[in-house]
Amino acid sequence: MAENVKDQILGFLESRFPDVEIPETEDIFQLGFVNSLFAMELVMFIEKTFGVTIPNDELRLDNFRTVKSMAELVDRRTALAETAEV
């Protein structure tokens, strides 16, 4: 898993919540600041930054719970996109 994917996601989260320190395995939903607006911004950020499309069936809580799980989602979608291009 590319470290810079995690770093970029972490950077986005820190820009939204500068007062909170977020380890890569921290459950962001436990922190209590996730709402539909933030979810929308987060999905848009991931899709634009990493050039992937996240289909409805991947928009699951577990895929966005931690920085690590989001990075894994990006890896998975990137791999699928690259396979489709071959």
């Binding site: 500068p18 539909s36 607006l37 979810a39 929308m40 848009m44 950020f45 634009k48 809580l61």
Partner: protein
């Protein structure tokens, strides 16, 4: 009597594909009739069909569905032009756009196959059902419920202030589910759907508002639009964002209409042997309209550009654009009535209608008070405070 002109003939000769073609369409078919639409409290079927033939309803949809792959900046320009002509017509476009975009963004292949082409052609018209008697754009206050049962859903609740609710064929209804807020596609002819017109509204009087009641409406599993779970609210957030963009651009259209009406009026109206345009107090008002319409247009352009780039900061940009454009529209519509004097209070000029419509823009898709709270909160966050 000669037969009606086939819609395809209109399409070939007058498809709307940019600001200039939208302006020509509005000047021919909408602006000269807007006061009549308001008086009648409805948009005639003939115009709704003509708009479909011109490709106005959902031109951002892909060509294979009958759309034009229009980008968001251009869509905003088209909505501005329609808003310049008639806010009621623009409001029908807004809610239809919201439903069509949500379907495109969140719909399954089967849902898109079923509805997209009809939405692109305007043979199915959409409406957006969020507000309730006890809750406006406040999603947390939604009392309507959708209960999963028997492999589908049972929908109950009442939606109020539904633009085009009287005429729409397909409703996008937001209701509380077991764990979130769900979005549901509900055809108007589903048993249990009841439509009650709302007359005598302050502004956008031809927008065919209705109260829509859903009483034990049985829906199949395919009626749920978009994901379930924590991201279900994204459908609402994204759809409202696009609605706000349309209202913002429509508000720019109102300012432009005020400017054009005032320039024409003050050019020919004389006081003391001189045209009104020669009075410096009039020039000050006109110059403020010119300045604000340009500023508001640029804000909308920026919001549209960010949407095209799929940049999440478009949400903030759209709040700012909607707040600025709608407040300036209300100010300038008031000044436009003032400039027209007693003539501005009657139906012979467009400014009384613009004045009524502009007030609505400060309220819909999130009141300006809510917008300001949100904008300020974002500002502190950006400054890490």
């Amino acid at each position: 009597m000669s037969p009606a002109r086939p819609v395809l003939e209109v399409l070939e000769s007058g498809a709307v594909h940019d600001r200039a073609s939208a302006r020509a369409f509005v000047d021919e078919h909408i602006a000269p009739r807007a006061n009549g639409f308001e008086r009648d409290g409805r948009i005639p079927e003939e115009l709704l069909e003509r708009m479909g033939a011109a490709g106005l309803w959902a031109p951002f949809l892909p060509r294979e569905s009958g759309g034009a792959d229009m980008d968001m900046v251009t869509l905003g320009e088209v909505h501005e032009e329609v808003g310049r002509g008639c806010s009621s017509v623009r409001s029908l476009l807004t809610v239809h756009t919201m439903l069509s975009w949500a379907l495109r963004r969140w719909g399954s292949d089967a849902q898109r196959e079923r509805w997209e082409s009809e939405l692109a052609r305007g043979t199915t018209l959409g409406a957006f059902c969020l507000s309730e008697p006890g809750a406006g754009s406040d999603a947390a206050g939604i009392a309507s419920t959708a209960v999963e049962s028997g492999g589908g859903w049972t929908l109950n609740g009442t939606k109020k202030w539904i633009t085009n609710g009287q005429r729409a064929d397909l409703y996008l209804v937001f209701a509380r589910t077991a764990g979130s807020i769900g979005a549901f596609l509900v055809p108007r002819d589903t048993p249990g759907v009841q439509v009650c017109p709302i007359p005598e509204i302050l502004g956008t009087r031809a927008s065919m508002l209705a109260e829509v009641t859903f009483r034990d409406v049985r829906l199949g599993p395919e009626s749920l639009l978009g994901p379930s779970g924590f991201t279900a609210g994204m459908v609402l957030t994204g759809t409202l964002d696009l609605g706000r963009y349309s209202v913002a651009t429509g508000s720019v259209g109102i300012i432009q209409a005020c400017l054009e009406a005032c320039a024409a009026y003050t050019n020919q109206r004389e006081v003391g042997g001189s045209a009104l345009r020669n009075l410096q107090l009039i020039q000050a008002k006109v110059s403020d309209m010119v300045t604000d319409v340009r500023a508001a247009r640029l804000l909308c352009h920026e919001a549209g550009r960010l949407k095209d780039a799929r940049d999440s900061t478009t949400i903030m940009a759209t709040w700012v654009a909607k707040y600025f454009a709608s407040t300036r529209a209300a100010t300038h519509a008031s000044e436009a009535v003032q400039i027209h004097g007693a003539n501005g209070c009657g139906p012979d000029y467009p400014v009384a209608r613009l004045y009524r419509d502009s007030k609505v823009m400060e309220i819909i898709e999130g009141s300006n008070e809510i917008q300001r709270v949100t904008i300020a909160g974002e500002a502190y966050r950006e400054m890490k405070l």
